[in-house]
């Protein structure tokens, strides 16, 4: 949009001299240089991810198997949520460029309108990322299992609802015959991970032992991700055999044979590095989006107060726009290299 100067440019705009490199303003050029350096940081992170993935001998988590949940709707929607996030960010980039366009026409109302839309889009994206993190940390219904032969498999299927825990041996607080009906799923996954479930019985925190009244899991599939001996990489175990193997592990009473969710030390999706890169890369990007939203809000205040209108141009909107588009640009790459390939 190289406009043609129609009036004389004052000395301040000309970087205090008589020339302005690349016919662009100081602020815009510096924003570009900052973006190049920031782009290099993100390249470094993504290429480090590629390096780790290439030197890793086992199987690396696959995007469409790892990210397949939607809020309120459950599992079975591979990549739809991330695609939605991508779309939200692209749309907020569009509203930003429309704000810049309105600024060129000195249309203050238009700039305000599109800036507000951009900020809303930004908040939606940050919120989506918060949900995704929460989901990633808490994990799936089934977790990742270590089978009898030592191989490890991720598990897909429909989790049967837990009705209650019926106490059969009294502990410190609960008496025989009492039924626990609250926080069942949470208790259950903790007990399974800790090896406190044995032959359909769960040992609760107060030491009481209870019978687990639970509907059967259905549609189960185990996909082998780590070699043990019996299975090949990527083998899929289905049907009754899958249910039998899974129940065997859950009811073994051994700790750490089922891992749920993710932290910095281990995760159910794949190697330790995978979780760390997930947190670092999407976290660093999310932080950029958050800063972008904050900067956009500051600029919006300027627009509403007429600061830029008095100045005679909306270049500040253009400069924050550059940053905002950059954040979108980074996400395009994160989307491809973290989720798609």
């Amino acid at each position: 949009m190289a406009g043609h100067a129609s009036k004389q440019i004052d000395a301040k705009t000309l970087w205090g001299g008589k020339i302005s490199p690349f016919s662009t303003s100081y602020g815009k050029l510096m924003m570009w240089f900052f973006l190049v350096s920031d782009a290099l940081t993100f390249s470094g992170l993504l290429i480090a991810y590629g390096f780790t993935r290439h030197d890793y001998l086992g199987s690396w988590p696959i995007g469409e198997e790892t990210f397949e949940s939607l809020p309120f709707l459950g599992n079975g929607f591979p990549l739809i949520y991330v695609a939605l996030m991508t779309f939200i960010l692209i749309v907020s980039s569009v509203t930003m460029v429309l704000a810049v366009e309105a600024g060129h026409r000195m249309d203050r109302k238009g700039v305000t309108k599109w800036m507000i839309a951009t900020i809303i889009g930004g908040f939606f994206f940050v919120g989506s990322q918060a949900w995704e993190w929460s989901h990633f940390i808490h994990g799936s219904d089934f977790g990742r299992v270590e089978l009898a032969d030592g191989s490890q498999a991720i598990v897909k299927g429909k989790f049967g609802e837990i009705k209650n825990f019926e106490v059969v041996t009294a502990g410190h607080h609960l008496a025989v015959g009492e039924k626990v009906t609250e926080d069942l799923k949470h208790e259950y996954t903790h007990a399974v991970a800790g090896g406190h479930v044995h032959n359909g019985m769960i040992t609760l925190h107060d030491g009481s032992v209870a019978k687990i009244n639970k509907e059967a899991n259905t549609d189960m599939r185990l996909i082998v991700k780590e070699l043990g001996g019996k299975y090949a990489m990527g083998d899929e175990i289905k049907g009754a055999e899958a249910i039998r193997l899974y129940e065997e592990v859950v009811n073994s009473g051994e700790a750490n044979r089922v891992i749920y969710g993710a932290n910095l030390k281990q995760n159910e999706y794949g190697p330790q590095h995978y979780g760390q890169f997930f947190f670092f890369i999407t976290g660093f990007h999310g932080f950029h989006v958050f800063s972008g939203v904050m900067i956009n809000i500051l600029i919006l205040l300027g627009v509403v107060n007429g600061v830029y209108h008095k100045r005679g141009h909306y270049e500040m909107v253009e400069k924050t726009g550059l940053y905002w588009h950059f954040v979108d640009l980074v996400w395009v790459f994160v989307f491809t290299f973290f989720y798609l390939v």
């Binding site: 949009m1 290429i47 030197d55 141009h313 588009h325 640009l329 390939v341």
Partner: protein
Amino acid sequence: MLRDDIIEYSLDAHHSEEQGVKLRKKIWKVTAILTLITAIEVVIGSVIKQADASWYIVKWVLIILTLVKAAYIVLSFMHLGDERKGLRYVILIPYFIFALYLIYILITEGNAIAAILTEFAS
């Protein structure tokens, strides 16, 4: 009067209503393209499995689609396509030299380490 000490200047990029209509049309066109590419990527990604023999090609298709998307964002939304040629190259060339070098060196190194680990494991 034409003066040679006043240079073309993007700061004065005000445009008229008619130009605005044209620009907005272009913006919506780019939006449609970006959305379409994202949709195609997701469909390809969820239909074709990584274990498939054709995955190698799919991977490159996805990477190329990503670069097309990135080019649209940088050149159209960030208006780099409208800036001076010199500015364009000052931004893109150093970046691409560093990024391509880093990709080459680290992917090669990653593969080499995998080869060594495999050798010692067996």
